[in-house]
Amino acid sequence: MMNIYTIFYALSIFTILSSVIFNLLYLHGAKNAEHSIHLKTPISIQRLSKLQLIVSLSSMLFISLLLLASINGK
């Protein structure tokens, strides 16, 4: 039976993955607007998005290790 740690880690990974996918799709939509409105996405937003991607990936890696440890009962 899964313990509460496993459930929390799995939920965290799911939430972070969802936010990354949402962020990437949102930025892709904003890129499409460059063709219709001729307005480029600001550099600050692109940097913030990259920061979010780095934070998310490192978080997911860390939480995945915790999840594995939790599943193995350590």
Partner: protein, 207 residues
């Protein structure tokens, strides 16, 4: 040819100039300080979530790892929503040209609205500048209400919470006061020079 003035934010707006002799008057978006409300709310809710998770998992359950996991999840969601709020603000534009006024509102994955009023079909334009509150007055942020054919249709186009609202309101008033110079419109009354002491009334009849 694109007319660049101080009320036009940087960008390539030629796509919006679709009619002959049309030129840009104003291209603006809402004041950046309008973002302060949603950002503060988001920061407050995130902070509340972090404090609650720390209290719940460290103090109650003595589990630092779960608390840390929840905190970084909240930080990730916070950054995603931050980007969404900023992009929604960035792609909400008000564009006024000599021939039309339009609002472009684009929210990726959600909606694309383009609300446009053609001024060629409008006979009477009234521009009101509205500003309320100390902060709005201090940073010159306010609304411009452009009313078309007020006596009959009462159709109002709002430029909400824009920066430099006072000067942009004056600029638009001056420009639209000269609309007859951009394209000819019929005079309501004119002097009939063929007959003495007579004024003739002139109006267009739409069938």
């Amino acid at each position: 040819m694109q007319d660049v003035n101080k009320y036009v934010i940087s960008g390539d707006w030629r796509k919006f100039l679709t009619m002959p002799n049309e030129r840009l008057l104003v291209v603006t978006r809402k004041h950046p300080l309008i973002l302060l409300g949603p950002l503060l709310s988001l920061a407050f809710i995130s902070l509340l979530g972090i404090v609650a998770s720390v209290y719940l998992f460290i103090i109650s359950f003595s589990s630092e790892l779960i608390a840390f996991t929840v905190v970084i999840t909240i930080v990730n969601v916070f950054i995603s929503l931050l980007i969404k709020i900023f992009i929604d603000w960035y792609f909400n534009l008000y564009i006024a040209t000599t021939r039309k006024i339009l609002e472009v509102r684009y929210s990726p994955l959600a909606s694309f609205n383009q609300d446009q009023v053609l001024l060629d079909q409008v006979k009477c334009t009234e521009i009101d500048t509205l500003k309320s509150g100390l902060i709005s007055d201090f940073i010159d942020m306010g609304n411009i209400a452009i009313t078309f054919d007020r006596p009959t249709h009462h159709d109002i186009f709002y430029l909400e919470n824009i920066r430099n609202s006072r000067v942009i309101g004056i600029h638009l008033s001056n420009e639209y006061a000269q609309r007859g110079h951009y394209y000819p419109q019929g005079e309501m009354w004119y002097r009939d020079t063929s007959r003495r002491n007579n004024f003739a009334y002139f109006d267009e009849t739409f069938t």
